[in-house]
Symmetry: C3
Subunit: 119 residues, 3 copies
């Protein structure tokens, strides 16, 4: 049961793999998308999740759980509309979604993913 870490910097790894389980660092939108609204930031964030899952040897069909944080719960339906179109039917992970604030006010949504490695 080795630990494999990918996309490391001095603070965190973006991917950690152990015992067939893939842990992704919390994903915000791409830096160039921080001026977008909640819908736009959600799509940008999920694009990053797709890229990391592929790099990790997993994919969108193999997500086990998602924790979602939005900065303004009154707009959660905007996030949900983008999320629902992205999540693969028949392969939906468990999830929870609560309100939380981030390091900067521009940031509107973050997701923490645990997935299964494809064997």
């Amino acid at each position: 049961m080795t630990i494999e870490r990918q996309d490391m910097n001095t603070r965190m790894s973006k991917i950690v793999k152990h015992n067939g389980t893939v842990y992704l660092a919390g994903q915000l939108c791409k830096p160039e998308d921080e001026s977008l609204d909640l819908s736009g930031q959600t799509q940008s964030m999920l694009d990053k999740v797709d890229g990391l899952l592929i790099k990790a040897g997993s994919d969108r069909n193999h997500i086990l759980s998602a924790a979602i944080f939005v900065s303004d719960m009154s707009k959660v339906n905007d996030m949900n509309a983008v999320y629902d179109a992205w999540v693969p039917q028949g392969h939906c992970p468990v999830r929870y979604c609560v309100e939380a604030q981030f390091a900067r006010k521009e940031l509107l949504v973050e997701i923490s993913i645990v997935a299964a490695e494809i064997e």
Copy 2:
């Protein structure tokens, strides 16, 4: 290491099983209990957890970790009193508990559970 998903809708699964680990979707109280106070909502939420764990092939004695969110931390003792009576002595999971807001103001508590499958 197959992934098993139960109680799926178009947004999420309520149960995901992988490699002996059971992930439950974040559980709020039953819809008919949303007018209850924090104690009542906590009991209703934990009743749902019990049902999902049984359906998943686990049970209250096999919970590994619990993340608990309450909308008003000044009342956390009301949640804890119900939780402490529910959690099985000798089989307590790790937990953390922080304040967070939910999609609607009526909602006072949510729990996210990871458990072990009974072999």
Copy 3:
């Protein structure tokens, strides 16, 4: 796949082990350090994490994921400075960090850790 629980009280275990994975209860600073600022509380909290990981048969090099909660995101850099000095280069876990409030206003930071057991 047995479940091993350590440091149990009537509410929670501080350590739960299952299938090579170690779950730690959310860690705050030591009680005697609650008057410290965010930097001091972060160091105190991470000292507790080190102790629990050793007790669990893991260590700082084997952390898989960290969820960090700070009560005032405008001061997150103070937490990060202590965290960055603590996290072992080449062995960084994934992480996310959001703002959240705790049971008492004195408490400024909490961390939830999942690690790998050393074989």
